[in-house]
């Protein structure tokens, strides 16, 4: 006679070796592989690094005499830090002590909000960085001299005092960066967390079906 799954389960766990727990290694200081902890740790490290880097860029820009670039990048980096600190607060509030559906939904909602915020920001970050570089070099006397030497005898075409082709080029590049900024961020996200996010969607879809 065939055993029922209930009997297999009960009898199987009567064996003395069936529930031998693996040895735990240094539990309290162990680095987590859990996605929430991973995000939290990654975010914290990145934000601290970004603050340090913003000051390095600011100081260095004065030394190399492109302070406008340094100030603009300092503003950008610290804006990113402020926005991401708010996101970090959201991930820390996810409660593991709720039903699986609520937990996965809360995590999924946080992920979607995080992605949406960063996609929106990326549309500005890339063009802003490009324009900050242009402005930085434009207002730098050292760069102006070097630029004139590179151009040599070439005459820039001005229309009513505006270097038309240069402005058009800048506008075009800025537009392309604004258009592809979000896509670049999504691509980056897909490479790093694509599999995890797909699996999460599958599980939530299964739970929605179960609830329906």
């Amino acid at each position: 006679m065939e055993k029922s799954i209930e009997t297999i389960w009960k009898e199987g766990f009567l064996e003395s070796d069936a529930l031998v727990a693996p040895k735990l290694n240094n539990l309290y200081t162990q680095k987590s592989i859990h996605i929430i902890d991973k995000f939290t740790r990654m975010f914290s490290i990145n934000l601290k690094a970004l603050v340090v880097f913003s000051f390095v860029v600011l100081v260095a820009s004065f030394f190399v005499q492109i302070p406008v670039l340094g100030v603009l990048m300092f503003i950008l980096f610290n804006t990113i830090v402020i926005v991401n600190r708010k996101l970090l607060k959201g991930i820390k509030e996810i409660d593991k002590n709720v039903s699986s559906y609520q937990y996965l939904k809360a995590f999924d909602n946080w992920m979607k909000a995080q992605i949406l915020t960063n996609v929106k920001m990326s549309r500005f970050i890339y063009p802003y960085t490009f324009l900050a570089m242009i402005a930085g070099f434009w207002f730098s006397s050292n760069f102006q001299e070097a630029f004139n030497e590179i151009l040599g005898s070439h005459q820039i075409y001005f229309l009513k005092g505006i270097p038309v082709f240069w402005v058009l080029g800048i506008v075009l590049i800025t537009g392309v960066l604004a258009y592809f900024g979000g896509a670049l961020y999504k691509l980056d996200l897909k490479i790093v967390y694509g599999r995890v996010l797909r699996k999460l969607d599958e599980i939530i879809a299964d739970m929605d079906e179960l609830r329906g």
């Binding site: 199987g12 727990a21 995890v196």
Partner: protein, 148 residues
């Protein structure tokens, strides 16, 4: 019970040990969140399942693929973790279910009432009853003829 859950969500001994370690770590970190609204065991189930459901990590496929070329097949078979062969076969079948079905059947086999299972998963007891019937049918098919 953590062992039973982690076994159902992992294919290899290495993954099982990682998941077990991680679930224990998360329980340790979340212990102060236990509000006494449910039994301690229910809380542990809820937490362990939630951790396992989001513990989906990339496998070192490349390394395993390379290694497997040089190893006999029986050495790479790490699924058979228990002395009881029927239990191993049951676990193999459970691993073929979706993540949510695995959670439901584990709670059912641990004799949790439908109300508790529904509360842990986040649905209604009726839905759980229907799903358990389907899961048992599926497991029966998967185990058909393998266990006497």
């Amino acid at each position: 019970m953590i062992i039973k859950i982690c076994r159902a969500y992992t294919d290899t001994q290495e993954d099982f040990e990682d998941y077990y370690q991680e679930v224990c770590l998360q329980i340790w970190r979340s212990r102060e969140q236990f509000r006494g609204e449910s039994k301690w065991s229910t809380w542990i189930y809820r937490l362990s399942l939630n951790i396992c459901l989001t513990l989906i990590k990339k496998k070192k496929n490349n390394r395993q693929n390379t290694d497997s070329k040089y190893l006999p097949s029986e050495v790479t078979d790490e699924n058979h973790s228990f002395a009881d062969e029927s239990l191993n076969l049951l676990y193999d079948a459970i691993r073929q279910l979706s993540e949510i079905d695995r959670a439901i059947i584990l709670l059912y086999l641990e004799e949790k009432p439908y109300e508790i299972i529904a509360d842990i998963i986040g649905t209604s007891p009726n839905n759980i009853a229907v799903r358990i019937t389907r899961i048992k049918e599926r497991l029966k098919k998967l185990l058909d003829g393998k266990i006497n």
